[in-house]
């Protein structure tokens, strides 16, 4: 007699776990993150570390208050991933408290208040980003111009501490992101024909730099190509499917294409949209967040398309230069509705859920 607890089938399991999924996503984020460290130096690393440590501490405190063991929860990697995504969306030389406050908010209000992993309605990283954008608009838009490589004049580690923790002035390095610059110039009545050359100066390599990532922007959002590569890895490893990312990119690119063809002086072209701001990060790492996106492929496509469209609308006509975070939150709110209406057809049933008609066979009937 083998004395074991009664067990239910299946008596086999795919070699996968929540922790493995999170680890894969973190690995896919690593190239863009390391590039951000290299581009912006130690302050970027400091900010990233503060965000992650704060998130882990907040998660541990919440789980502890709920009377559960903290270790398995921390090891599932979800808190680290949330903080990591938030850090990538921050200005690289932002003060430490911005990251700490954002991480704290993301885990406490964005996630644990709803009941922890899997229960939250809104993407915690985007909720925190929006909170910071509204509460600290100045700190959230102080971009750093990357040095001209390879002779980058990056701060030493000690100098980085004073930038991140000491509030050292960084005006000398400040500059605007493409989307921010365009928006500001529009408000001054300057159209794209004049504002874009002013930003890129005499070099016409603006978009090349944008793709590669050597430009002003958030810590980990500047390199569209590295983010794309990470996203493709996730698709290849079947952590995510293509539906939401492709739909989101389409949702931005299609209206941008139409509008820029109609009026090139007032609407940015699709390439500038696709390579700017947080779009690539959002398309592959945010709208693919399983917890807050719909659970069917068709639903995910609709979700991504909506997020893309809203992003383009906010970027084009909204008050903020970048609309990704707002668009994602709005679509998060629509997820339950999408899930209610978009369901797979059940075997043996019509789309309305009625049984398929029986076939009258030739014989005997």
């Amino acid at each position: 007699m083998i004395h074991v607890a009664p067990a239910h089938s299946p008596h086999a399991h795919a070699p996968t776990s929540v922790g493995m999924i999170m680890a894969t996503v973190l690995l896919a984020l690593a190239p863009a993150t390391l590039f951000g460290f290299w581009l912006f130096g130690w302050p970027a690393f400091n900010l990233w570390a503060v965000a992650i440590l704060t998130a882990l501490a907040t998660e541990a405190a919440c789980v502890g208050l709920a009377g559960r063991a903290a270790k398995p929860v921390l090891l599932d990697g979800s808190a680290a991933l949330t903080a990591w995504l938030l850090a990538l969306s921050l200005p690289p030389w932002a003060p430490w408290w911005l990251a700490a406050l954002g991480s704290f908010f993301a885990i406490l209000v964005g996630k644990q208040v709803f009941g922890g992993l899997g229960q939250n309605v809104f993407n915690p990283a985007m909720a925190a980003r929006v909170m910071l954008l509204i509460a600290f608009p100045v700190e959230m838009t102080l971009w750093t111009t990357p040095g001209s490589f390879p002779s980058a004049q990056l701060p030493s580690f000690l100098e980085s501490l004073s930038i991140t923790f000491g509030g050292a002035p960084m005006d000398a390095m400040a500059s605007a992101s493409l989307l921010g610059h365009v928006k500001t110039e529009f408000t001054r009545g300057i159209d794209l024909a004049h504002s874009l050359p002013a930003l890129f100066g005499h070099s016409q390599t603006g978009l090349g730099d944008a793709a590669w990532g050597s430009r002003a922007g958030s810590l980990g959002e500047t390199s569209a190509l590295l983010l794309l590569a990470g996203g493709l890895v996730l698709i290849a490893r079947r952590v995510i499917t293509w539906h939401a990312p492709v739909a989101m990119l389409l949702g931005v690119a299609l209206p941008a294409l139409i509008a820029s063809l109609l009026d090139p002086a007032h609407y940015l072209d699709p390439a500038a949209h696709l390579l700017s701001g947080g779009l690539m990060l959002a398309a592959f790492f945010i709208v693919t967040d399983p917890v807050t996106c719909p659970n069917t492929s068709a639903g995910q496509f609709a979700f991504g398309l909506g997020a893309g469209l809203l992003t383009w609308i906010i970027r084009t006509w909204g008050g903020y230069p970048e609309g990704v975070a707002f668009a994602v939150l709005l679509m998060n709110a629509a997820t339950p509705v999408i899930d209610r209406y978009v369901k797979p057809r059940i075997y043996g049933r019509t789309r309305d859920g009625k049984p398929l008609p029986a076939e009258t066979s030739g014989k005997g009937a």
Partner: protein, 510 residues
């Protein structure tokens, strides 16, 4: 000539096959066990009823229990010997609860009963084929163990046009159907043609997963020149599920809540076809079957030709015993099979495999929270939302789960298999189905009780009314009687008076 099917079903998973453990080993026969434990409940439906007494001598193939009712199957002695007990014995079920079982002490001779040659099986009428299949105790050998004759009769009457033979064997580890098709393809094809004859099918398709090229080749060669068409289907769990195999072979779907016969189809397992050939060609009832003995804990996995009623322990011993401590014993495949805890439980007709799995093979750590990754949605071959259904069941909202399609769930376990949070999804669904069935039964019982109570009230009222009426009638009768008596008395008095009068008159006249 074999073809690749051009249809497919949605979802599905690719569990690690592990069929190489046993697929290439030739079929072995275990030494004859001292005792065989033949369960009376080996099939779906009513248990068989014993027709022998303790102490009786029986021959191999002799009927020892008769079919009871419309859905049932008889049971035959798997070897020659003496009946030493008719009573309870642990069943191959997670509960290990005992079921009525006939215990036969083997005489070591394994002597068949006298069998008259049945003659040309194709000369039998369709009804005769079904009757013989029923008498041979043949049930679905793919695991469901539904009495085969019942299915044949229903299908013939329902006008089945397509016979589909299930050679999918999509469960990991299991290779007994593979081995059967490789080694005994002519007999399997004969059985298929007999089933086709019995239901009057116009088209016969054999679906075999493309991870069994030898079986496909052997079956294709044996089917040469017959109406039987062998088709390769992609190796994908749950290909061996009736509904999914129909879809993969024909592109058609069985209507929800209906049967394969509703779309003119009948599905049988290849093992069943072999048993049919044995019974109609040789007159031999179903007393043995091929069983895969495998798993990481088994020293020498392989396929055994096993007498029904052989304890699982004897199978493991034939395969060299355990080389590792088994963490779990499973009857059937790992995806849908049932755990058993007592190694003495016997093989029954539906036993396709006996597995001894190590802890590493099972791999079911503690469940984590659902992250709504919808891997289960993609894996579900039916098109359900397992994560949503489980969420409803967790909160006790079974009705909500039914609205999401709980009753369409085929319990294949694909969702549980792929869930990264290791949530036992299919366990939730089976629990909910069981609970709903219990509620359904309770409701039926309640309705019946209510009906009885109402009938009783009506009856009591009627009785009371009848009593009242009877009392009234009696009273009326009494009154009438009294009135009559009174009248009679008056009449008598009048008569008397008249008599007296006339007497006086007479006296006066005198």
């Amino acid at each position: 000539m074999s073809f690749l099917s051009r249809f497919k079903f949605r979802g599905g998973v690719h569990p690690e096959g592990r069929k190489d453990l046993s697929a290439d080993m030739p079929v072995r026969v275990p030494t004859l066990p001292e005792c065989l434990f033949v369960s009376l409940q080996q099939h779906i439906g009513a248990p068989a009823s014993p027709v022998i007494q303790v102490g009786d001598k029986v021959s191999k193939g002799q009927r020892i229990a008769a079919s009871q009712g419309a859905v049932s199957a008889p049971v035959h002695a798997p070897t020659s010997g003496r009946i030493i007990a008719i009573g309870d014995y642990p069943a191959p079920h997670p509960s290990g609860l005992p079921v009525p079982t006939i215990t036969i002490e083997s005489d070591g001779e394994d002597r068949w009963m006298d069998i008259a040659s049945p003659g040309d099986p194709f000369a039998f009428s369709a009804e005769e084929v079904a009757a013989r299949v029923g008498a041979a105790g043949i049930v679905g050998l793919g695991g469901a163990a539904f009495p085969a004759a019942v299915k044949l009769n229903v299908s013939r009457r329902g006008g089945v046009t397509t016979l589909i033979m299930n050679g999918g064997e999509c469960e990991p580890y299991l290779t007994c159907d593979d081995r059967l098709m490789r080694d005994r393809a002519p007999e399997v094809i004969l059985g298929i043609r007999l089933i086709s004859h019995a239901v009057g099918a116009r088209e016969v398709l054999v679906g075999i997963e493309d991870n069994k090229p030898e079986a496909i080749a052997a079956m294709t060669a044996a089917a040469q020149g017959s109406e039987v068409k062998v088709l390769a289907v992609p190796a994908m769990y749950p290909m061996g599920s009736e509904k999914q195999l129909i879809q993969a072979l024909t592109g058609k779907e069985v209507p929800a809540g209906g049967r394969a016969a509703d779309i003119g189809m009948l599905v049988h397992n290849v093992g069943t076809a072999y048993a049919v050939a044995q019974s109609l060609n040789l007159g031999r009832p179903l007393v043995s079957r091929l069983v895969t003995v495998s798993g990481g804990a088994v020293a020498a996995p392989g396929n055994l030709e096993v007498l029904i009623g052989t304890p699982a322990q004897a199978l493991f011993e034939t395969c060299g015993g355990f080389k590792d401590t088994p963490a779990r014993l499973v009857m059937g495949g790992p995806m849908m099979g049932q755990q058993f805890t007592n190694p003495l439980v016997p093989v029954i007709k539906g036993t396709s495999g006996v597995l001894a799995l190590t802890a590493a093979e099972i791999g079911q750590p503690q469940p984590a929270p659902c992250i709504r990754c919808s891997t289960c949605v993609r894996a579900c071959p039916v098109g359900l939302l397992p994560l949503e259904m489980a969420a409803h069941i967790r909160t006790g909202d079974l009705g909500g789960a039914v609205d999401l399609g709980l009753k369409d769930c085929i319990a294949c376990g694909s969702c549980s298999y792929v869930c990264p949070a290791h949530i036992p999804l299919v366990h939730y669904f089976n629990y909910a189905k069981g609970d709903l069935a219990a509620k359904e039964r309770a409701k039926l019982k309640q309705d019946a009780t209510k009906k009885l109570a109402e009938e009783r009230t009506a009856r009591m009222e009627r009785i009371a009314r009848e009593r009242e009426e009877a009392a009234k009638a009696r009273a009326a009768k009494k009154a009438a009687q009294e009135a009559a008596k009174k009248a009679a008395a008056e009449a008598a008095a009048r008569e008397k008076a008249e008599k007296e009068q006339s007497g006086k008159e007479q006296a006066e006249a005198l």
